[in-house]
């Protein structure tokens, strides 16, 4: 996994361990889930309509393009959710939740 976001300051915060695609990753307290994942991975989710990966867009809870799946099948909006120890998310849409556009 290669990250997309780059930390530029505030590096001396306590670590928070989360899981991304089953891999243990070290986030920082105060990270949003979106930021924590995108410092490791290039995207957050797949479009439900088969047009590719997405990595959020507005970061202010308006566009709804960062809803991630947790490993237990719940959904969270990554830009407005702060990381907590033990959080576990996946960056790919479960296959049965994709309805490709046939148009």
């Amino acid at each position: 996994m290669t990250g997309r976001f780059v930390r530029i300051a505030e590096l001396d915060r306590p670590s928070v361990e989360i899981e991304i695609n089953g891999m243990s990753c070290s986030a920082k307290a105060g990270d949003t889930l979106l930021v924590a994942v995108l410092t490791y991975a290039a995207s957050l989710r797949d479009s439900e309509f088969g047009d590719g990966a997405r990595a959020g867009f507005c970061l202010m809870g308006a566009c709804q393009d960062c809803w991630m799946w947790t490993s237990t099948g719940e959904r969270v909006r990554a830009c407005t959710t702060f990381v907590a120890p033990g959080m576990s998310v996946i960056t790919h849409q479960p296959a049965e939740a994709i309805w490709p556009s046939l148009g």
Partner: protein
């Protein structure tokens, strides 16, 4: 007399000043805020563990940000503050909220909507690629999370935020590959007389611009974006320069935005009438100089009423609260209202200058290629929308929405609505006003199926 039930939605600059004014009059308002703290987007606070100074975070606006935060923190004991709470509907004189999975209905005598704004966007081929963000997003990443959206960033679009965010990135040491402004440089110069209505803001704008040049960052006016290119994620931007020559700049992230649009769904659900602003090619809630809408007891303030910026938002927040108090039969200082109205009017001259300097590039929205996704939520293309207009005869946006679902998705048309209206008007050969506007629908943001009523 029973204590009036007053609700303020939004704790940005407008909402904070509205709450302060209500408290000063002896009213204890409910303040609903979707985020965890006050400040709004412009004065958004970093999480408590972060240590950067106000000067680092807010630059020239450090004093104003500190004042808004301090004012609100001092109010907290005198208001019913509900952070992390979504206002998702207004029905029969009650505001419907949800917080931590619990739904509540709050009846009100007066409701002040200080709902702010989001970036105004238009689709560009490839704008759904990972690495492409709104300008607001690029700024939030830095301000609230101390992150850059990539290693080498192109900023494109138009408006004051384009230059502010580009400058903030450059100052933080992030490589800014280029700034592409769809507005021609000559247009920006022609707006100077009007922009001089607020000399300090004009000077700040020129300062940001000069700082970009001093750092060797290319700034291209009159640019037309062609594609956010890449295999999967962003790898570059293709654009035509002001002479029509196609160029490509390599980058791994893009921040884009074309000034702002008001968040008006709640005003719509409150049954406020809307007016069409020809100059901005946008609809906004009809309101008098104090923010009174056509719905009794409902007021609008700040960028959610019209895009005038943070300083104007503080003024309009206070005005709306005074108007509400007056309508509730309270004695209010009329002279203060007169003074606030005069100050607010001066903001309007500057706004006209901005509209001249950084016009909404309707022509780009209208020229979007058929295969480009207009709707990010449900992957609906410009071609789908054009066909609904041509073959099914959609006469206005809500009909087009019913046919092809543009504006039906999870963002509720926030990010496709401006361009969808232009495309529909173009196909029909109608003026923009004739295709109307997407009606607000509840819930204004997605609600979990697990929400419970708090009874």
């Amino acid at each position: 007399m029973a204590e009036p039930r007053v609700i303020v939605v939004g704790a940005g600059p407008a909402g904070v000043r509205a709450a302060q004014t209500l408290v000063a009059a002896g009213v204890r308002p409910v303040v609903i805020e979707e985020g965890p703290t006050s400040g709004g987007q412009i004065y958004r606070r970093q999480p408590t563990l972060f240590k950067r100074s106000y000067e680092t975070l807010y630059g020239f606006e450090a004093g104003r940000a500190r004042a808004i935060h301090q004012t609100f923190d001092d109010l907290v004991g005198d208001i019913d503050f509900r952070p992390d709470t979504l206002a998702w509907n207004i029905f029969r004189g009650a505001l419907h909220t949800v917080s931590q999975g619990l739904a509540q209905n709050l009846p009100f005598d007066a409701l002040i909507l200080a709902t702010g704004a989001t970036d105004r966007l238009l689709p560009i081929a490839g704008w759904t690629r990972p690495g492409c963000y709104s300008l607001g997003a690029a700024q939030i990443a830095m301000k609230a999370q101390a992150c850059a959206i990539g290693r080498r960033v192109v900023f494109l679009g138009t408006g004051p935020l384009l230059y502010l965010v580009s400058y903030q990135y450059a100052k933080a040491g992030v490589e800014v590959a280029a700034v592409l402004d769809t507005s021609a440089t000559a247009r920006q110069l022609s707006a100077f007389p009007r922009l001089a209505a607020r000399p300090s803001l004009l000077l700040k704008g020129l300062y940001y611009r000069a700082q970009l040049t001093a750092r060797g960052i290319p700034v291209h006016g009159g640019a037309s974006p062609v594609e956010i290119a890449g295999a999967e994620g962003v790898e570059g931007v293709r654009y035509r320069d002001s002479r029509g020559v196609e160029r490509t700049i390599a980058c791994d992230a893009v921040g884009m935005g074309f000034h702002l649009r008001s968040e008006t769904q709640l005003a719509d659900l409150a049954r406020c009438e809307f007016v069409f602003d020809e100059e901005l090619a946008q609809w906004r809630p009809q309101a008098d100089a104090d923010g009174r809408t056509t719905a009794p007891g409902v007021y609008v303030a700040g960028d959610g009423a019209r895009i005038l910026g943070a300083d104007a938002a503080e003024i309009s927040g206070e005005l709306a609260a005074l108007a509400a108090l007056k309508d509730l039969g309270r004695e209010i200082p009329e002279r203060r209202m007169t003074a606030l109205r005069a100050r607010h009017a001066r903001m309007e001259a500057f706004r006209k200058g901005l509209a001249t300097a950084f016009p909404w590039p309707a022509h780009l929205a209208r020229a979007v290629a058929d295969e480009v996704l207009v709707c990010r939520c449900e992957a609906i293309t410009a071609g789908d929308l054009r066909r609904s207009a041509a073959e099914k005869g959609a006469p206005e946006l809500n009909r087009a929405k019913a046919f092809v679902r543009v504006g039906m998705g999870r963002c509720q048309g926030r990010f496709c609505g401006s361009a969808a209206a232009e495309i529909l008007a173009e196909v029909r050969g109608d003026p923009l006003v004739a295709v109307g506007r997407l009606r607000g629908a509840a819930p204004v943001k997605p609600l979990s199926i697990a929400v419970r009523a708090d009874v």
